[in-house]
Symmetry: C2
Subunit: 330 residues, 2 copies
Protein backbone atom coordinates (compact mmCIF):
# COMPACT_ATOMS: atom_id res chain seq x y z
CA UNK A 1 0.00 0.00 0.00
CA UNK A 2 1.23 3.45 -0.79
CA UNK A 3 0.94 4.61 2.81
CA UNK A 4 3.39 1.90 3.83
CA UNK A 5 5.90 2.74 1.11
CA UNK A 6 6.87 6.35 1.62
CA UNK A 7 7.81 8.81 -1.08
CA UNK A 8 11.45 7.73 -1.24
CA UNK A 9 10.54 4.12 -2.01
CA UNK A 10 7.88 5.17 -4.51
CA UNK A 11 10.45 7.25 -6.36
CA UNK A 12 12.88 4.32 -6.36
CA UNK A 13 10.27 2.04 -7.90
CA UNK A 14 9.45 4.63 -10.54
CA UNK A 15 13.09 5.31 -11.38
CA UNK A 16 13.70 1.59 -11.81
CA UNK A 17 11.29 1.69 -14.75
CA UNK A 18 12.87 4.62 -16.55
CA UNK A 19 15.49 4.42 -19.26
CA UNK A 20 18.22 7.03 -19.00
CA UNK A 21 18.55 9.56 -21.80
CA UNK A 22 21.91 9.31 -23.59
CA UNK A 23 24.14 12.32 -22.90
CA UNK A 24 21.92 13.17 -19.95
CA UNK A 25 23.23 16.33 -18.32
CA UNK A 26 21.46 16.21 -14.97
CA UNK A 27 20.90 12.94 -13.14
CA UNK A 28 17.44 11.85 -11.96
CA UNK A 29 16.48 13.27 -8.62
CA UNK A 30 18.11 16.68 -8.87
CA UNK A 31 15.91 19.73 -8.29
CA UNK A 32 15.28 20.11 -12.02
CA UNK A 33 15.85 18.24 -15.29
CA UNK A 34 17.63 19.47 -18.37
CA UNK A 35 17.93 18.89 -22.09
CA UNK A 36 21.10 19.96 -23.88
CA UNK A 37 20.31 22.61 -26.50
CA UNK A 38 23.65 21.83 -28.21
CA UNK A 39 24.74 25.45 -28.29
CA UNK A 40 26.21 25.76 -24.80
CA UNK A 41 22.79 26.13 -23.22
CA UNK A 42 20.52 23.84 -21.29
CA UNK A 43 16.73 23.82 -21.43
CA UNK A 44 15.84 23.35 -17.78
CA UNK A 45 12.46 22.18 -16.57
CA UNK A 46 10.76 21.19 -13.40
CA UNK A 47 7.33 19.99 -12.42
CA UNK A 48 5.91 19.99 -8.93
CA UNK A 49 2.33 19.38 -7.93
CA UNK A 50 0.39 21.09 -5.18
CA UNK A 51 -2.44 19.00 -3.76
CA UNK A 52 -5.06 20.81 -1.69
CA UNK A 53 -5.37 18.20 1.00
CA UNK A 54 -1.65 17.91 1.80
CA UNK A 55 -0.14 21.21 0.67
CA UNK A 56 -2.78 23.83 1.41
CA UNK A 57 -3.19 24.58 5.11
CA UNK A 58 -6.35 26.21 6.43
CA UNK A 59 -6.39 30.01 6.00
CA UNK A 60 -4.45 29.75 2.76
CA UNK A 61 -6.52 31.42 0.04
CA UNK A 62 -6.78 29.96 -3.44
CA UNK A 63 -4.77 32.93 -4.69
CA UNK A 64 -2.02 32.00 -2.22
CA UNK A 65 -2.26 28.32 -3.10
CA UNK A 66 -1.88 29.01 -6.82
CA UNK A 67 0.97 31.42 -6.18
CA UNK A 68 2.66 28.83 -3.97
CA UNK A 69 2.32 26.20 -6.71
CA UNK A 70 4.37 28.51 -8.93
CA UNK A 71 6.89 29.41 -6.20
CA UNK A 72 7.59 25.73 -5.51
CA UNK A 73 8.73 25.30 -9.09
CA UNK A 74 10.58 28.59 -9.35
CA UNK A 75 12.47 27.67 -6.20
CA UNK A 76 13.84 24.52 -7.81
CA UNK A 77 15.03 26.46 -10.85
CA UNK A 78 16.51 29.09 -8.53
CA UNK A 79 18.57 26.43 -6.78
CA UNK A 80 20.07 25.46 -10.14
CA UNK A 81 20.83 29.06 -11.10
CA UNK A 82 18.16 29.16 -13.78
CA UNK A 83 15.78 32.03 -14.47
CA UNK A 84 12.23 30.83 -15.13
CA UNK A 85 10.84 32.03 -18.44
CA UNK A 86 7.58 30.15 -18.64
CA UNK A 87 5.11 28.44 -16.36
CA UNK A 88 2.51 25.93 -17.46
CA UNK A 89 -0.26 24.94 -15.09
CA UNK A 90 -2.44 21.84 -15.11
CA UNK A 91 -5.41 22.19 -12.82
CA UNK A 92 -7.58 19.62 -11.13
CA UNK A 93 -10.67 21.49 -9.97
CA UNK A 94 -13.19 20.18 -7.46
CA UNK A 95 -16.85 20.68 -8.34
CA UNK A 96 -17.60 23.13 -5.56
CA UNK A 97 -15.47 25.99 -6.93
CA UNK A 98 -17.09 29.27 -7.99
CA UNK A 99 -16.17 31.71 -10.74
CA UNK A 100 -14.48 33.84 -8.11
CA UNK A 101 -12.42 30.85 -6.98
CA UNK A 102 -11.23 30.17 -10.52
CA UNK A 103 -10.36 33.84 -10.88
CA UNK A 104 -8.27 33.68 -7.71
CA UNK A 105 -6.41 30.65 -9.02
CA UNK A 106 -5.68 32.35 -12.33
CA UNK A 107 -4.52 35.50 -10.60
CA UNK A 108 -2.34 33.54 -8.17
CA UNK A 109 -0.65 31.73 -11.03
CA UNK A 110 -0.03 34.96 -12.89
CA UNK A 111 1.18 36.87 -9.85
CA UNK A 112 3.49 34.05 -8.78
CA UNK A 113 5.03 33.90 -12.24
CA UNK A 114 5.34 37.68 -12.68
CA UNK A 115 6.94 38.05 -9.25
CA UNK A 116 9.89 36.12 -10.68
CA UNK A 117 9.83 37.57 -14.18
CA UNK A 118 8.12 34.58 -15.79
CA UNK A 119 4.82 34.27 -17.65
CA UNK A 120 2.12 31.65 -17.55
CA UNK A 121 1.97 30.40 -21.12
CA UNK A 122 -0.61 27.67 -20.99
CA UNK A 123 -2.16 24.84 -19.12
CA UNK A 124 -4.97 22.41 -18.86
CA UNK A 125 -8.13 22.18 -16.75
CA UNK A 126 -9.78 19.07 -15.40
CA UNK A 127 -12.30 17.99 -12.88
CA UNK A 128 -10.83 16.28 -9.81
CA UNK A 129 -11.86 15.44 -6.26
CA UNK A 130 -8.91 17.32 -4.78
CA UNK A 131 -7.70 20.74 -5.75
CA UNK A 132 -4.59 19.93 -7.80
CA UNK A 133 -2.28 22.60 -9.23
CA UNK A 134 0.53 20.99 -11.13
CA UNK A 135 2.95 23.56 -12.49
CA UNK A 136 5.85 23.09 -14.84
CA UNK A 137 8.55 25.74 -14.95
CA UNK A 138 10.88 26.23 -17.89
CA UNK A 139 14.02 28.28 -18.36
CA UNK A 140 17.36 28.18 -20.11
CA UNK A 141 20.86 28.69 -18.75
CA UNK A 142 24.42 28.43 -19.89
CA UNK A 143 25.47 24.86 -19.27
CA UNK A 144 28.56 25.86 -17.36
CA UNK A 145 26.50 27.74 -14.77
CA UNK A 146 23.98 25.03 -13.94
CA UNK A 147 24.53 24.00 -10.30
CA UNK A 148 23.81 20.37 -9.45
CA UNK A 149 23.42 18.64 -6.11
CA UNK A 150 26.41 16.43 -6.69
CA UNK A 151 29.39 18.78 -6.78
CA UNK A 152 30.20 19.31 -3.08
CA UNK A 153 33.72 18.35 -2.00
CA UNK A 154 35.21 17.85 1.48
CA UNK A 155 36.43 21.20 2.73
CA UNK A 156 33.63 23.16 1.06
CA UNK A 157 31.66 25.48 3.30
CA UNK A 158 27.94 24.84 3.65
CA UNK A 159 25.67 27.85 3.77
CA UNK A 160 22.05 28.95 3.58
CA UNK A 161 20.30 32.00 2.14
CA UNK A 162 18.16 32.66 5.19
CA UNK A 163 16.93 31.42 8.55
CA UNK A 164 14.87 28.30 9.14
CA UNK A 165 12.04 27.21 11.40
CA UNK A 166 9.43 29.85 10.61
CA UNK A 167 7.31 27.60 8.44
CA UNK A 168 7.27 24.78 10.98
CA UNK A 169 6.26 27.24 13.69
CA UNK A 170 3.69 28.85 11.42
CA UNK A 171 2.15 25.47 10.69
CA UNK A 172 1.89 24.81 14.42
CA UNK A 173 -0.10 28.02 14.71
CA UNK A 174 -2.31 27.21 11.73
CA UNK A 175 -2.79 23.48 12.26
CA UNK A 176 -2.52 23.05 16.02
CA UNK A 177 -3.79 26.46 17.07
CA UNK A 178 -0.74 27.32 19.20
CA UNK A 179 -0.87 30.97 20.23
CA UNK A 180 1.75 33.67 19.57
CA UNK A 181 1.96 37.43 19.91
CA UNK A 182 0.36 39.13 16.95
CA UNK A 183 3.65 40.30 15.45
CA UNK A 184 5.38 36.93 15.77
CA UNK A 185 2.25 35.19 14.57
CA UNK A 186 1.99 37.35 11.48
CA UNK A 187 5.60 36.71 10.61
CA UNK A 188 5.40 32.95 11.10
CA UNK A 189 2.06 32.48 9.37
CA UNK A 190 3.29 34.63 6.52
CA UNK A 191 6.18 32.22 5.99
CA UNK A 192 3.61 29.50 5.35
CA UNK A 193 1.18 31.48 3.23
CA UNK A 194 3.60 33.56 1.19
CA UNK A 195 6.74 31.51 0.60
CA UNK A 196 9.51 33.24 -1.36
CA UNK A 197 11.83 31.59 -3.84
CA UNK A 198 15.44 32.76 -3.59
CA UNK A 199 15.72 33.41 -7.29
CA UNK A 200 18.05 36.42 -7.26
CA UNK A 201 20.37 34.64 -4.84
CA UNK A 202 20.37 31.47 -6.91
CA UNK A 203 21.09 33.33 -10.13
CA UNK A 204 23.94 35.40 -8.78
CA UNK A 205 25.46 32.49 -6.86
CA UNK A 206 25.56 30.36 -10.00
CA UNK A 207 27.41 33.15 -11.80
CA UNK A 208 30.15 33.27 -9.17
CA UNK A 209 31.25 29.70 -9.93
CA UNK A 210 31.97 29.46 -6.20
CA UNK A 211 29.01 27.17 -5.52
CA UNK A 212 29.66 23.45 -5.86
CA UNK A 213 26.21 22.13 -4.96
CA UNK A 214 22.81 23.67 -4.43
CA UNK A 215 19.34 22.51 -3.46
CA UNK A 216 16.22 24.20 -2.25
CA UNK A 217 14.95 23.30 1.20
CA UNK A 218 11.33 22.47 0.45
CA UNK A 219 11.73 19.13 2.26
CA UNK A 220 13.51 20.71 5.23
CA UNK A 221 17.07 21.63 6.09
CA UNK A 222 18.05 18.20 7.39
CA UNK A 223 16.69 16.52 4.31
CA UNK A 224 18.46 18.98 2.00
CA UNK A 225 21.79 18.26 3.71
CA UNK A 226 21.23 14.55 3.31
CA UNK A 227 20.37 14.99 -0.37
CA UNK A 228 23.57 16.91 -1.09
CA UNK A 229 25.45 14.35 0.97
CA UNK A 230 24.02 11.47 -1.05
CA UNK A 231 24.53 13.13 -4.44
CA UNK A 232 28.02 14.48 -3.65
CA UNK A 233 29.26 11.67 -1.39
CA UNK A 234 30.30 14.05 1.35
CA UNK A 235 29.26 14.46 4.96
CA UNK A 236 28.70 17.61 6.94
CA UNK A 237 29.58 19.09 10.27
CA UNK A 238 27.03 21.75 11.08
CA UNK A 239 28.39 24.24 13.56
CA UNK A 240 25.64 26.77 13.69
CA UNK A 241 21.97 26.19 13.08
CA UNK A 242 20.34 29.02 11.13
CA UNK A 243 17.26 29.40 13.34
CA UNK A 244 14.93 32.33 12.71
CA UNK A 245 14.56 34.59 15.74
CA UNK A 246 10.77 34.36 15.66
CA UNK A 247 10.97 30.57 15.53
CA UNK A 248 13.32 30.65 18.51
CA UNK A 249 10.92 32.86 20.51
CA UNK A 250 7.97 30.72 19.53
CA UNK A 251 9.77 27.52 20.50
CA UNK A 252 10.75 28.97 23.86
CA UNK A 253 7.19 30.09 24.61
CA UNK A 254 5.84 26.60 23.89
CA UNK A 255 8.63 24.45 25.28
CA UNK A 256 9.55 23.26 21.79
CA UNK A 257 13.02 22.46 20.53
CA UNK A 258 13.98 25.25 18.10
CA UNK A 259 16.57 23.01 16.41
CA UNK A 260 13.79 20.57 15.64
CA UNK A 261 11.74 23.32 13.99
CA UNK A 262 14.70 24.48 11.91
CA UNK A 263 15.99 21.08 10.84
CA UNK A 264 12.93 19.00 10.25
CA UNK A 265 10.20 21.46 9.31
CA UNK A 266 10.11 21.50 5.53
CA UNK A 267 8.10 23.70 3.18
CA UNK A 268 10.85 26.32 3.39
CA UNK A 269 12.41 27.73 0.27
CA UNK A 270 15.86 28.87 1.33
CA UNK A 271 18.76 27.57 -0.72
CA UNK A 272 21.25 25.21 0.89
CA UNK A 273 24.58 25.48 -0.90
CA UNK A 274 28.16 24.37 -0.65
CA UNK A 275 30.85 26.88 -1.52
CA UNK A 276 34.54 26.46 -2.29
CA UNK A 277 36.23 27.78 0.86
CA UNK A 278 38.69 29.95 -1.09
CA UNK A 279 35.81 31.58 -3.00
CA UNK A 280 33.59 32.26 0.01
CA UNK A 281 34.17 36.01 -0.08
CA UNK A 282 33.24 36.17 -3.72
CA UNK A 283 29.96 34.35 -3.11
CA UNK A 284 29.15 36.36 -0.01
CA UNK A 285 29.75 39.68 -1.73
CA UNK A 286 27.85 38.77 -4.85
CA UNK A 287 24.76 37.95 -2.80
CA UNK A 288 25.19 41.08 -0.69
CA UNK A 289 25.17 43.17 -3.87
CA UNK A 290 21.68 42.01 -4.80
CA UNK A 291 20.46 42.70 -1.26
CA UNK A 292 20.63 39.11 0.01
CA UNK A 293 22.76 37.23 2.47
CA UNK A 294 24.38 33.86 2.82
CA UNK A 295 25.19 32.42 6.23
CA UNK A 296 27.86 29.82 6.77
CA UNK A 297 26.52 26.95 8.88
CA UNK A 298 29.28 24.34 8.64
CA UNK A 299 31.70 22.31 6.61
CA UNK A 300 31.60 19.45 4.14
CA UNK A 301 33.67 16.44 5.19
CA UNK A 302 34.90 13.19 3.72
CA UNK A 303 32.92 11.16 6.25
CA UNK A 304 29.50 9.78 5.36
CA UNK A 305 27.89 11.41 8.40
CA UNK A 306 25.95 14.58 8.99
CA UNK A 307 26.63 15.89 12.46
CA UNK A 308 25.56 18.89 14.47
CA UNK A 309 27.98 20.35 17.03
CA UNK A 310 25.63 21.28 19.85
CA UNK A 311 26.74 22.85 23.11
CA UNK A 312 26.19 19.48 24.78
CA UNK A 313 28.18 17.57 22.21
CA UNK A 314 27.92 16.19 18.70
CA UNK A 315 24.59 14.75 17.56
CA UNK A 316 23.65 13.26 14.21
CA UNK A 317 21.23 15.14 11.97
CA UNK A 318 18.69 12.56 10.90
CA UNK A 319 17.50 11.92 7.38
CA UNK A 320 13.94 12.93 8.02
CA UNK A 321 11.71 15.80 7.14
CA UNK A 322 8.43 16.33 5.49
CA UNK A 323 7.56 13.47 3.23
CA UNK A 324 4.18 12.99 1.58
CA UNK A 325 2.48 9.76 2.67
CA UNK A 326 4.98 9.23 5.49
CA UNK A 327 5.47 12.48 7.39
CA UNK A 328 8.58 12.58 9.56
CA UNK A 329 9.92 9.20 8.70
CA UNK A 330 12.12 9.38 5.62
Amino acid sequence: MVEGLGERRIIEILLDQLEVMPRVTVPFGDDASAVDLDDGRLAVMKTDMLVGKTDVPPCMSLWQAARKAVVMNVSDLAAKGVRPAAILASLGLPRGLTEGDIEQIGRGLNDGAREYGAYVLGGDTNEASDLVISCAAFGTCEKQFFVKRGGARPGDLVAVTGPFGKTAAGLKILLEGLPASSKVKENLVNAVLMPQARLQEGLILAQTRAVTASIDSSDGLAWSLHEISRASRVGFIIEKLPIAQEAEEFAEAHGLNPAELALYGGEEYELVITVKAELWKRAEEAVKKIGGRITKIGLATGEPTILFKEKRGIVPIEARGWEHFKPHSK
Copy 2:
Protein backbone atom coordinates in the same frame (compact mmCIF):
# COMPACT_ATOMS: atom_id res chain seq x y z
CA MET B 1 -20.20 26.24 -9.34
CA VAL B 2 -17.67 24.60 -11.60
CA GLU B 3 -20.20 22.12 -12.95
CA GLY B 4 -22.29 24.99 -14.24
CA LEU B 5 -19.38 26.75 -15.89
CA GLY B 6 -17.94 24.32 -18.39
CA GLU B 7 -14.32 24.06 -19.38
CA ARG B 8 -14.51 26.80 -22.00
CA ARG B 9 -15.75 29.38 -19.48
CA ILE B 10 -13.22 28.26 -16.87
CA ILE B 11 -10.41 28.76 -19.36
CA GLU B 12 -11.78 32.21 -20.24
CA ILE B 13 -11.77 33.24 -16.59
CA LEU B 14 -8.23 31.95 -16.14
CA LEU B 15 -6.94 33.65 -19.29
CA ASP B 16 -8.45 36.95 -18.16
CA GLN B 17 -6.01 36.84 -15.22
CA LEU B 18 -2.89 36.19 -17.24
CA GLU B 19 -0.50 38.79 -18.58
CA VAL B 20 0.77 38.11 -22.07
CA MET B 21 4.49 37.53 -22.55
CA PRO B 22 6.08 40.15 -24.78
CA ARG B 23 7.16 38.74 -28.15
CA VAL B 24 4.95 35.76 -27.50
CA THR B 25 5.23 33.38 -30.42
CA VAL B 26 2.20 31.19 -29.87
CA PRO B 27 -1.09 32.61 -28.60
CA PHE B 28 -2.86 31.16 -25.56
CA GLY B 29 -5.05 28.23 -26.34
CA ASP B 30 -3.00 26.60 -29.07
CA ASP B 31 -2.08 22.93 -28.63
CA ALA B 32 1.28 23.86 -27.08
CA SER B 33 3.16 26.91 -25.79
CA ALA B 34 6.55 28.16 -26.89
CA VAL B 35 9.46 30.29 -25.77
CA ASP B 36 11.71 31.84 -28.39
CA LEU B 37 15.27 30.52 -28.02
CA ASP B 38 16.53 33.52 -30.03
CA ASP B 39 18.51 31.39 -32.45
CA GLY B 40 15.77 30.46 -34.88
CA ARG B 41 14.42 27.77 -32.60
CA LEU B 42 11.44 27.55 -30.29
CA ALA B 43 11.33 25.69 -26.99
CA VAL B 44 7.91 24.08 -27.14
CA MET B 45 6.07 22.75 -24.14
CA LYS B 46 2.74 21.31 -23.23
CA THR B 47 1.10 20.05 -20.09
CA ASP B 48 -1.97 17.89 -19.94
CA MET B 49 -3.37 16.11 -16.93
CA LEU B 50 -4.96 12.70 -16.81
CA VAL B 51 -7.43 12.24 -13.94
CA GLY B 52 -8.43 8.70 -13.08
CA LYS B 53 -12.09 9.39 -12.55
CA THR B 54 -12.70 11.18 -15.88
CA ASP B 55 -9.95 9.92 -18.19
CA VAL B 56 -9.42 6.30 -17.23
CA PRO B 57 -12.25 4.01 -18.34
CA PRO B 58 -12.73 0.61 -16.70
CA CYS B 59 -10.42 -2.09 -18.09
CA MET B 60 -7.65 0.42 -18.67
CA SER B 61 -4.59 -0.77 -16.75
CA LEU B 62 -2.36 1.63 -14.86
CA TRP B 63 0.32 0.93 -17.43
CA GLN B 64 -2.10 2.02 -20.15
CA ALA B 65 -3.24 5.05 -18.16
CA ALA B 66 0.34 6.25 -17.64
CA ARG B 67 1.19 5.63 -21.27
CA LYS B 68 -1.94 7.53 -22.32
CA ALA B 69 -0.94 10.47 -20.11
CA VAL B 70 2.27 10.69 -22.15
CA VAL B 71 0.54 10.17 -25.50
CA MET B 72 -1.90 13.02 -24.79
CA ASN B 73 1.04 15.41 -24.50
CA VAL B 74 3.04 13.97 -27.38
CA SER B 75 -0.02 14.33 -29.59
CA ASP B 76 -0.17 18.08 -28.96
CA LEU B 77 3.50 18.47 -29.86
CA ALA B 78 2.94 16.29 -32.92
CA ALA B 79 0.19 18.62 -34.12
CA LYS B 80 2.69 21.50 -33.98
CA GLY B 81 5.38 19.56 -35.83
CA VAL B 82 7.57 19.24 -32.76
CA ARG B 83 9.49 16.14 -31.71
CA PRO B 84 9.23 15.52 -27.95
CA ALA B 85 12.60 15.25 -26.25
CA ALA B 86 11.63 15.09 -22.60
CA ILE B 87 8.64 14.18 -20.48
CA LEU B 88 8.15 15.20 -16.86
CA ALA B 89 5.45 13.55 -14.79
CA SER B 90 3.76 14.79 -11.63
CA LEU B 91 1.80 12.07 -9.94
CA GLY B 92 -1.09 12.20 -7.52
CA LEU B 93 -1.33 8.73 -6.03
CA PRO B 94 -4.31 7.39 -4.08
CA ARG B 95 -3.50 5.50 -0.91
CA GLY B 96 -4.71 2.11 -2.11
CA LEU B 97 -1.94 1.62 -4.70
CA THR B 98 0.54 -1.23 -4.35
CA GLU B 99 4.22 -1.46 -5.30
CA GLY B 100 3.14 -3.30 -8.42
CA ASP B 101 0.78 -0.46 -9.30
CA ILE B 102 3.54 2.12 -8.97
CA GLU B 103 5.78 -0.05 -11.11
CA GLN B 104 3.10 -0.17 -13.82
CA ILE B 105 2.78 3.60 -13.76
CA GLY B 106 6.54 4.05 -14.06
CA ARG B 107 6.73 1.56 -16.89
CA GLY B 108 3.78 3.14 -18.69
CA LEU B 109 5.41 6.56 -18.53
CA ASN B 110 8.69 5.21 -19.82
CA ASP B 111 7.13 3.13 -22.58
CA GLY B 112 4.92 6.01 -23.70
CA ALA B 113 7.91 8.33 -23.93
CA ARG B 114 10.23 5.82 -25.63
CA GLU B 115 7.55 4.93 -28.19
CA TYR B 116 7.98 8.50 -29.49
CA GLY B 117 11.73 8.81 -28.96
CA ALA B 118 11.47 10.86 -25.76
CA TYR B 119 12.72 10.16 -22.25
CA VAL B 120 11.12 10.73 -18.87
CA LEU B 121 13.54 13.07 -17.14
CA GLY B 122 11.89 13.75 -13.83
CA GLY B 123 8.76 14.32 -11.88
CA ASP B 124 7.11 14.61 -8.56
CA THR B 125 5.01 12.30 -6.39
CA ASN B 126 2.15 13.24 -4.11
CA GLU B 127 -0.72 11.72 -2.30
CA ALA B 128 -4.13 12.50 -3.78
CA SER B 129 -7.68 11.15 -3.64
CA ASP B 130 -7.79 10.62 -7.40
CA LEU B 131 -5.16 9.07 -9.55
CA VAL B 132 -3.61 12.11 -11.25
CA ILE B 133 -0.89 11.86 -13.89
CA SER B 134 0.09 15.30 -15.06
CA CYS B 135 2.72 15.17 -17.77
CA ALA B 136 4.66 17.97 -19.35
CA ALA B 137 6.27 17.41 -22.74
CA PHE B 138 9.18 19.43 -24.05
CA GLY B 139 10.83 19.68 -27.43
CA THR B 140 12.47 22.18 -29.74
CA CYS B 141 11.78 23.01 -33.37
CA GLU B 142 12.83 25.51 -35.97
CA LYS B 143 10.53 28.47 -35.58
CA GLN B 144 9.59 28.51 -39.25
CA PHE B 145 8.21 24.97 -39.05
CA PHE B 146 5.96 25.39 -36.03
CA VAL B 147 2.35 24.94 -37.17
CA LYS B 148 -0.29 26.96 -35.32
CA ARG B 149 -4.05 26.70 -35.31
CA GLY B 150 -4.49 30.13 -36.78
CA GLY B 151 -3.04 29.91 -40.29
CA ALA B 152 -5.89 28.39 -42.33
CA ARG B 153 -7.12 30.46 -45.29
CA PRO B 154 -10.26 30.17 -47.44
CA GLY B 155 -9.55 27.72 -50.23
CA ASP B 156 -7.27 25.51 -48.14
CA LEU B 157 -8.14 21.84 -48.07
CA VAL B 158 -8.98 20.29 -44.72
CA ALA B 159 -7.69 16.80 -44.06
CA VAL B 160 -7.19 14.21 -41.34
CA THR B 161 -4.51 11.61 -40.67
CA GLY B 162 -6.91 8.76 -40.02
CA PRO B 163 -10.49 7.68 -39.49
CA PHE B 164 -12.73 8.76 -36.61
CA GLY B 165 -15.38 7.20 -34.42
CA LYS B 166 -13.51 4.21 -33.04
CA THR B 167 -12.92 5.73 -29.61
CA ALA B 168 -16.55 6.78 -29.19
CA ALA B 169 -17.66 3.29 -30.18
CA GLY B 170 -15.04 1.69 -27.93
CA LEU B 171 -16.26 3.75 -24.99
CA LYS B 172 -19.80 2.58 -25.64
CA ILE B 173 -18.52 -0.97 -25.36
CA LEU B 174 -16.51 -0.26 -22.21
CA LEU B 175 -18.90 2.09 -20.41
CA GLU B 176 -22.33 0.99 -21.61
CA GLY B 177 -21.57 -2.66 -22.25
CA LEU B 178 -22.77 -2.64 -25.88
CA PRO B 179 -21.81 -5.89 -27.62
CA ALA B 180 -19.71 -6.31 -30.75
CA SER B 181 -18.07 -9.18 -32.61
CA SER B 182 -14.76 -10.06 -31.03
CA LYS B 183 -12.68 -8.64 -33.87
CA VAL B 184 -14.57 -5.35 -34.06
CA LYS B 185 -14.61 -5.13 -30.29
CA GLU B 186 -10.86 -5.63 -30.03
CA ASN B 187 -10.22 -2.94 -32.59
CA LEU B 188 -12.59 -0.40 -31.01
CA VAL B 189 -11.54 -1.04 -27.42
CA ASN B 190 -7.92 -0.85 -28.48
CA ALA B 191 -8.53 2.66 -29.81
CA VAL B 192 -9.52 3.67 -26.28
CA LEU B 193 -6.84 1.80 -24.36
CA MET B 194 -3.88 2.31 -26.67
CA PRO B 195 -4.22 5.71 -28.33
CA GLN B 196 -1.49 6.61 -30.81
CA ALA B 197 -0.08 10.07 -31.38
CA ARG B 198 0.51 10.93 -35.04
CA LEU B 199 4.04 12.10 -34.42
CA GLN B 200 5.68 11.02 -37.67
CA GLU B 201 2.83 12.54 -39.66
CA GLY B 202 3.00 15.79 -37.70
CA LEU B 203 6.76 16.08 -38.14
CA ILE B 204 6.82 15.42 -41.84
CA LEU B 205 3.77 17.59 -42.52
CA ALA B 206 5.39 20.55 -40.77
CA GLN B 207 8.46 20.12 -42.97
CA THR B 208 6.44 20.33 -46.18
CA ARG B 209 5.33 23.90 -45.43
CA ALA B 210 2.08 22.91 -47.09
CA VAL B 211 0.13 22.85 -43.81
CA THR B 212 -1.43 26.15 -42.73
CA ALA B 213 -3.08 25.01 -39.48
CA SER B 214 -2.97 21.89 -37.36
CA ILE B 215 -4.61 20.61 -34.20
CA ASP B 216 -4.97 17.23 -32.59
CA SER B 217 -8.46 15.85 -32.19
CA SER B 218 -8.45 14.94 -28.51
CA ASP B 219 -11.69 16.91 -28.05
CA GLY B 220 -13.31 15.40 -31.11
CA LEU B 221 -13.37 16.16 -34.82
CA ALA B 222 -16.18 18.72 -34.63
CA TRP B 223 -14.47 20.57 -31.82
CA SER B 224 -11.14 20.57 -33.67
CA LEU B 225 -12.75 22.08 -36.75
CA HIS B 226 -14.35 24.78 -34.60
CA GLU B 227 -11.01 25.53 -32.93
CA ILE B 228 -9.21 26.00 -36.25
CA SER B 229 -12.19 28.04 -37.44
CA ARG B 230 -12.00 30.33 -34.42
CA ALA B 231 -8.21 30.74 -34.50
CA SER B 232 -7.98 31.16 -38.30
CA ARG B 233 -11.30 32.96 -38.90
CA VAL B 234 -12.37 30.58 -41.60
CA GLY B 235 -15.32 28.27 -41.97
CA PHE B 236 -15.46 24.77 -43.42
CA ILE B 237 -17.52 22.74 -45.80
CA ILE B 238 -17.00 19.09 -44.96
CA GLU B 239 -17.76 16.88 -47.92
CA LYS B 240 -16.74 13.51 -46.63
CA LEU B 241 -16.75 12.33 -43.04
CA PRO B 242 -13.74 10.16 -42.20
CA ILE B 243 -15.62 7.41 -40.39
CA ALA B 244 -13.74 4.27 -39.41
CA GLN B 245 -15.19 1.13 -40.96
CA GLU B 246 -15.45 -0.60 -37.58
CA ALA B 247 -17.29 2.40 -36.16
CA GLU B 248 -19.66 2.30 -39.11
CA GLU B 249 -20.37 -1.42 -38.59
CA PHE B 250 -20.80 -0.89 -34.86
CA ALA B 251 -23.19 2.03 -35.40
CA GLU B 252 -25.26 0.05 -37.86
CA ALA B 253 -25.54 -2.92 -35.49
CA HIS B 254 -26.78 -0.67 -32.69
CA GLY B 255 -28.91 1.81 -34.60
CA LEU B 256 -26.46 4.62 -33.83
CA ASN B 257 -25.58 7.51 -36.10
CA PRO B 258 -22.02 6.89 -37.34
CA ALA B 259 -21.55 10.59 -38.11
CA GLU B 260 -22.31 11.35 -34.47
CA LEU B 261 -19.61 8.91 -33.35
CA ALA B 262 -17.05 10.40 -35.72
CA LEU B 263 -17.81 14.07 -35.12
CA TYR B 264 -18.53 14.34 -31.45
CA GLY B 265 -16.62 11.47 -29.82
CA GLY B 266 -13.37 12.96 -28.62
CA GLU B 267 -10.36 11.24 -27.10
CA GLU B 268 -9.04 10.57 -30.58
CA TYR B 269 -5.56 11.56 -31.57
CA GLU B 270 -5.68 12.05 -35.30
CA LEU B 271 -4.40 15.35 -36.63
CA VAL B 272 -6.83 17.73 -38.28
CA ILE B 273 -4.97 19.96 -40.73
CA THR B 274 -5.53 22.53 -43.40
CA VAL B 275 -3.35 22.35 -46.49
CA LYS B 276 -2.68 24.85 -49.25
CA ALA B 277 -4.61 23.44 -52.22
CA GLU B 278 -1.69 23.85 -54.60
CA LEU B 279 0.62 21.95 -52.24
CA TRP B 280 -1.73 19.05 -51.54
CA LYS B 281 0.29 16.56 -53.56
CA ARG B 282 3.44 17.48 -51.67
CA ALA B 283 1.77 16.92 -48.31
CA GLU B 284 0.10 13.72 -49.41
CA GLU B 285 3.32 12.24 -50.75
CA ALA B 286 5.40 13.25 -47.78
CA VAL B 287 3.04 11.42 -45.43
CA LYS B 288 2.86 8.42 -47.75
CA LYS B 289 6.66 8.14 -47.62
CA ILE B 290 6.63 7.61 -43.86
CA GLY B 291 3.86 5.02 -44.18
CA GLY B 292 0.98 7.31 -43.23
CA ARG B 293 -1.95 8.79 -45.04
CA ILE B 294 -3.91 12.01 -45.15
CA THR B 295 -7.49 12.10 -46.30
CA LYS B 296 -9.15 15.20 -47.69
CA ILE B 297 -12.49 15.81 -46.00
CA GLY B 298 -13.45 19.28 -47.18
CA LEU B 299 -12.60 22.88 -47.84
CA ALA B 300 -11.93 26.02 -45.79
CA THR B 301 -14.25 28.90 -46.65
CA GLY B 302 -14.57 32.60 -45.93
CA GLU B 303 -17.90 32.06 -44.16
CA PRO B 304 -18.05 31.73 -40.36
CA THR B 305 -19.93 28.44 -40.60
CA ILE B 306 -18.94 24.80 -40.43
CA LEU B 307 -21.20 22.74 -42.61
CA PHE B 308 -21.45 19.10 -43.55
CA LYS B 309 -22.74 18.18 -47.03
CA GLU B 310 -24.84 15.13 -46.28
CA LYS B 311 -26.76 13.15 -48.88
CA ARG B 312 -29.95 14.71 -47.51
CA GLY B 313 -28.62 18.23 -47.61
CA ILE B 314 -26.31 20.57 -45.76
CA VAL B 315 -26.27 20.44 -41.96
CA PRO B 316 -24.21 22.49 -39.50
CA ILE B 317 -21.48 20.75 -37.51
CA GLU B 318 -22.03 21.83 -33.94
CA ALA B 319 -19.40 23.17 -31.57
CA ARG B 320 -19.65 20.35 -29.13
CA GLY B 321 -17.57 17.40 -28.12
CA TRP B 322 -16.09 15.98 -25.05
CA GLU B 323 -15.62 18.64 -22.39
CA HIS B 324 -14.68 17.97 -18.79
CA PHE B 325 -17.39 19.12 -16.35
CA LYS B 326 -19.89 19.60 -19.14
CA PRO B 327 -19.82 16.65 -21.50
CA HIS B 328 -21.52 17.23 -24.84
CA SER B 329 -22.46 20.82 -24.29
CA LYS B 330 -19.58 23.09 -25.25
